[in-house]
Amino acid sequence: MPQGSADRVRTWITRESLDDFAQFEDIVGEVGSVEDGALLFFQGRVRRTNRGRAVSRLEYEAYGEMAERELSAICHEALEQFDVGSVAAAHRVGDLALGEVSVAIAVTSAHRDDGYRASRWIIETIKVRLPIWKHEHYENGESHWVGAPTPEAGASTGGSRFG
């Protein structure tokens, strides 16, 4: 009856589509329980407009093995920090078209407040810790690594020691 932490977490990094809800429905059926009164399912999708620019497609690059380990670590930490029953999370890599799902997170919990808080914590933590980089391609043919300093800004702070 009591489940180990490992039995209640599923994480993966993949080149395959995450668009389909069904794979998460299946996982929740496996790892959830009738003690869970709430399910929170979050999807991040490729949006057409980002910071005012028209995006044509995205490319996600990952530090593969480290990303797998960090995503698993984040979800296990969520299980310890919040009163949740199960967590499933996946992140896409490779080329994504507009509207495609880049990240998906399913959380089950006895009570909804824990589910909302855990789901939000997981996505925010993914955004600061998961070693994945987003290369945005725009309709005008330009591209940009999201979060990267511009080459000029980089040069102006280069050459010095660790802060």
Binding site: G44, Y60, E61, A62, Y63, E65, M66, A67, R69, H91, S102, V103, I123, I126, K127, V128, R129, L130, P131, I132, W133, K134, H135, W145, V146, G147, A148, P149, P151, G154, A155, T157, G158, G159, S160, R161, F162, G163
Partner: protein, 84 residues
């Protein structure tokens, strides 16, 4: 003759683009730290655009600047992450 170590270096995202390579290797004195490696990478004709506080992972774990490196370590230079 000083003991030397060799580490594998990985450049992700914009760092890979700016360095014009995704992988490399570096020879360092034994007991070199992450900071020593970064300094050597920044050296003459090197990656002088690397920011002051560059994030580094050693063997797939985030590491401090003072972390001591060992022969065969995998050292990744991590630009600002942007998953999600």
């Amino acid at each position: 003759m000083t003991d030397r170590i060799s580490v594998r270096t990985l450049f992700f995202g914009v760092y890979g683009e700016l360095a014009a390579r995704r992988e490399g290797s570096a020879e360092l004195a034994a007991d070199s730290t992450v900071a020593d490696l970064v300094d050597s990478l920044r050296g003459p004709g090197g990656l002088d655009w690397l920011p002051e506080s560059v994030v580094v992972a050693v063997n797939q774990n985030y590491a401090e600047a003072g972390t001591t490196l060992s022969d065969g370590d995998e050292v990744a230079l991590i630009p600002p992450v942007a998953g999600g």
